[in-house]
Each structure stands twice: as structure tokens, then as C-alpha cells.
Amino acid sequence: MRFFEDLKIGQRRELGSFTFTAEAIKKFARQFDPQRFHLDEEEGRKSLFGGLAASGWHIGSACMKLLVTDGQRQAKEAAARGETVATWGPSPGFRELRWIKPVLAGDTISFASEIESLRASEKRPEWGILQARNTGTNQRGELVFSFLSTAFVPRRDGGARGD
């Protein structure tokens, strides 16, 4: 993972893709979101979704999975170059999450993350605050999912600047 100083507004990372099988959609739904259109093909067809649809929280969790995997990939690359690896902090939340189009059984969603803003944390000088627009696009190129996430990113010098 990179430090706050290495990040720039507009930087975009392709995070990889996730295929929502009928089996995975139903497994997640049984545990967390057992609404009929997430559990049964016929009920899905009759609903606004038009087919067996993944829970929105499943889509968000899959995006998180790929964000973490991408971070681990970057950390590995940085370590291989002999650089200090930054450990990112937790997220205080997100805004503007949109489930734009249904994600149906068999869909493969490609996720990406693009930096929208960067600022220093007033309360925690060793941290910067990043906002990134994370998006999911299906195999037909349609935008299906988007949210604006916030995360704490460590400053390279621990924020203890002498100047």
C-alpha cells in the first residue's frame, strides 16, 4: 500500500472482477438478506430486478474484497522494491452509494477505484483522509454500482514534519 504523499487526485486502479453465481447470491442472501428476489429465480423474474439478483450488500462486500486484494498486491510490490509498506487505517464511512442496475446471477462485475479528494486529518496529523469513487461495471459495460468511500491513509513521515 502507498502513503498519503504518493497519492494524487484522479489516480485510478482497476481492481479485478467478481462473478456472482446463483449459488453465491443465494448463500449470501440466506445469511444476510433473505428477500425473495435474492433467493429464488422465479421471484427474481417477477420483481423489478428481472432475475435472481445479488443483495446490494453482497456487491459492496465483493468490492471490498477486491479493494483489499489490490492493496495487498501493491504492498507486495512495494516490499519487493525494498520500500516501506504503508498500513492503511479503517474507513469512517461512505456516501452516495448507488445500486444503479441489478446484478443478476451469472454477471461478472469489474470494479475500479478512482481518487476524488485528499486532505490532511486535523485531529490526527499522522493520517491523511482519502475519498475515492469505487465503481462496478458489468460484462456489457454498464455501470451497475458506485460509492464514494473515505479512508485513513498514513503520512510517510508520520506527520511529524520539521518545516
Binding site: Q31, M64, F152
Partner: protein, 155 residues
């Protein structure tokens, strides 16, 4: 009798739970969807901003969804949600937490594009047994109006 748009006037709607959260389920979710050390490893979590093992925020959201389903969504003529306006993770989710969910209706309006439905915007607040707020969410759902359910049955 399914709950319809008319059953969600602005104001406090209800309190749901408690829902007990185990260490095993926190680790299982983190392994599958959010394998960051602060969600998986006790020692790494102690050194993190969360100061101890904490569940993934997406797990907390998913548990909140289940609490909403068990509390009222499961008996509501809901057509799904277009998204989440705002979500804040305010305190860490810990192993052993007993969660309660408070639901307030902040806005309820008839849909212009689909007048047999309404849009109900909820504020959901999840607290632990000590009363600390772990998560706040503002999110709309689309709910059928009573006449919409009636006409569907007639059709």
C-alpha cells in the same frame, strides 16, 4: 398483512434486536470479504486505530440488513433500495457484541415516476449493549402503496 407505504409515517418506527455477534462469524466474514489484519489478527488489530479485533464494516452493514429484514423488511411490500445516502462507521464492532437497531423514518413520499409506490427514507442506528453507536445509515427503499398491492392482487 404486508406493511405498505402508508405504514411508514415520519418518526420513530421501531427498535429491533438484540443480535449477538460471535468472534467466529466476524473472522469468517473477514476471511471471505475483508481480510485486513485489523479484522483477522488480534495483535495487528491492537496496533491499529481500532485498538483490538474488530469486525469488517461491510459485515456490520450486512448484519444490519438482516436485522432490518427480521424486524420489518421481511413483512414489507418492498421493491428494493436504490442506494445509501450516507453511512458512518463510528465505533468498532467487537466479538461478543449484542446489537440493537433503531429505525426512524426521515421522509416518506409518493414516487412521481411510479405512483403505485412510495419512497421511504430511513435512518438506521446500530448500538452495542453499552449504548455506543457503531453505525448510522440513511437509505431509501421503494415500498408499494396499499392501492398498488390491491390492484396487483386484482390483476
Amino acid at each position: 398483512m404486508m406493511l405498505t407505504f402508508e405504514d411508514f409515517p415520519p418518526g420513530h418506527f421501531g427498535t429491533f434486536g438484540p443480535r449477538h455477534v460471535t468472534r467466529e462469524e466476524l473472522l469468517a466474514f473477514a476471511e471471505e470479504f475483508d481480510p485486513q489484519p485489523m479484522h483477522l489478527d488480534e495483535e495487528a488489530a491492537k496496533r491499529s486505530m481500532l485498538k483490538g479485533l474488530a469486525g469488517s464494516g461491510w459485515h456490520l452493514c450486512s448484519i444490519m440488513m438482516r436485522m432490518m429484514f427480521d424486524g420489518y423488511i421481511g413483512r414489507t411490500a418492498s421493491l428494493g433500495s436504490p442506494g445509501v445516502n450516507d453511512l458512518r462507521w463510528l465505533s468498532p464492532l467487537r466479538p461478543g457484541d449484542d446489537l440493537t437497531l433503531d429505525i426512524d423514518v426521515v421522509e416518506a413520499r409518493v414516487s412521481r415516476s411510479r405512483p403505485t409506490t412510495g419512497i421511504v427514507t430511513f435512518k438506521a442506528t446500530v448500538r452495542n449493549a453499552a449504548g455506543e453507536v457503531l453505525c448510522e445509515m440513511v437509505s431509501p427503499i421503494i415500498v408499494q402503496r396499499r392501492e398498488g398491492v390491491a390492484s396487483e392482487r386484482a390483476g
